[in-house]
Amino acid sequence: MIRFEYVTKIYMRGARPALEDVDVTLERGDFAFLVGASGSGKSTFLKLVLREERPTSGHIHVAGRDLGRLASWRVPTLRREIGAVFQDFRLLPNKTVYENVAFALQVIGKGKRQIENTVPETLDLVGLGGKEKRMPHELSGGEQQRVAIARAFVNHPPILLCDEPTGNLDPATSVGIMRLLDRINRTGTTVLMATHDENIVDQMRKRVIELRDGRVVRDQVQGVYGLETV
């Protein structure tokens, strides 16, 4: 589903690489954590998958596409295969929950009928059934993040990327979000989540890819957060 072949990313000439010789494969239906200290390259990894950035060297394959050969006008079709969730929820403050989720379908030109079917279904999935008409500021942080996940998932993309989705949430709320991501993963969606929340990583016991200074220093099935530090 996602394959990095010896990928190196250098943002500025002469600077230390943000990613160096990264060689990682995620299969369809995988659930993996991307951990590492601040600046270790987690966000850079996700940006390369989304083709927001392009690698300095190496090859990246996502959802059967070679990103190096993907014409830039084809990038939108790539992004429709990927849902993305961020630490700041990035909801539109003047749109209701329903409209926020529907927005993601409207802007890729989906029909009215399809939107009316899919959106309530997805809101039910993330546990927001009945709160369609709330505005974002009327929701708790956890609920806002659920809206963001619903928006990322409403198009049923095969890949879901999460960049520290629980960074702004308290521990109890975070656990709820992780349960939701786990449920989405069980529908066959590949989930890749960058985080430095050790409790969550330790609890979930999923695959852990650890970056340090842009290099993969650990790739462990059913890992915990701080193995090497401890």
Partner: protein, 305 residues
């Protein structure tokens, strides 16, 4: 679905940056107003030129009964002299420049004209036909060639003086041409301002909706879908400005030129309100073109994938 969605995005964008959009409308209004004025002034100049220059004639005044001028020292013009002058004007290089036939105005005709036009009768009561000069009224195929005709006839026997009315129009044309130039320069400056304004409006709009565009990029919205609303905003504001300036020019020409000027100075052919309509499409086109350029320059940077 898509259309209503884009329309609502455009509407929101315009409302959010209303003061900016109004500034664009006003500035395109004024700049295209200047541009249109320059075009119309140039049309008016062309009108006047074709109008007046075709009427312009070279008048060869022949010697009258009694004259103390040096040219006419030998007394009034004789028939032989007159034939010689006619000969020069009808044959050879000069003949080719001149529209045939040449109109001969006798002193009696000149006197009748004077009597008819001198309402107060100051002169007609004290002058007789014999005080008047016979004149050859020469029309030219190309009015600019006055000097050739003048040179050829000036020193012939029996010619008093050669006069060309074209001189009196020169100043007028100069003034009109300068007005056109000033309008054109102002138009250029204002168009520059318009481009920068549209650019900034689009940029502002893009900045104030960064969150939307970021989400759109992330969920895989096409470039067109992302950029179209901004481009439309700029284009709508610019077109509105163009329409306003067309209306403004139309009103100006209709009331100021057609109604008022034309009633004041009747002898001239004026541009009409329909001339405004003939430049209108061009003005709208320029407005849309400007906003398209501004969009291209701006949007790449602010909403790129």
């Amino acid at each position: 679905m898509r259309l209503t969605f884009i329309a609502s995005e455009v509407w929101q964008g315009l409302r959010r940056n209303i003061s900016m959009a109004l500034a664009v409308v006003i500035v395109t209004f004024v700049s295209l107003g200047f541009l249109g004025s320059a075009a119309l002034l140039q049309m008016q100049v062309a009108n006047l030129k074709s109008n007046w220059l075709s009427k312009v004639e070279v008048s060869v005044f022949l010697c009258p009964e009694a004259s103390n001028r040096a040219n006419c020292a030998s007394g009034p013009v004789t028939t032989a002299q007159q034939d010689a002058i006619q000969q020069v004007l009808t044959t050879g290089a000069v003949g080719d420049l001149v529209k045939q036939p040449i109109y001969y105005e006798s002193k009696e005709e000149a006197y009748d004209y004077l009597v008819a036009h001198d309402k107060d009768g100051y002169f007609s009561q004290s002058l007789t036909a014999d005080d008047m000069q016979p004149v050859l009224r020469v029309k030219l195929k190309d009015p600019e060639q006055f000097q050739v005709v003048a040179d050829a006839t000036q020193n012939l026997e029996g010619v008093d003086v050669v006069v060309d009315q074209r001189d009196i129009f020169k100043t007028l044309f100069l003034v009109l041409n300068r007005a056109t130039l000033i309008a054109a320069v102002l138009a250029a400056v204002m168009l520059l301002a318009a481009v920068m304004l549209i650019t900034t409006t689009i940029r502002l709009s893009a900045l104030s909706r960064r969150r939307e565009t970021t989400i759109m990029r992330m969920v895989g919205s096409s470039k067109t879908m992302i950029q179209l609303p901004f481009m439309l905003e700029g284009a709508i504001a610019a077109t509105l400005g163009a329409v306003l300036s067309i209306v403004g020019l139309w009103l100006t020409v209709h009331y100021l030129v057609e109604d008022w000027l034309a009633s004041q100075f009747k002898t001239v052919d004026y541009i009409s309100a329909s001339d405004v309509l003939s430049v209108a499409p061009l003005m709208v086109l320029i407005a849309v073109g400007l906003s398209a350029i501004a969009s291209l320059v701006t949007l790449g940077k602010y909403t790129s994938a």
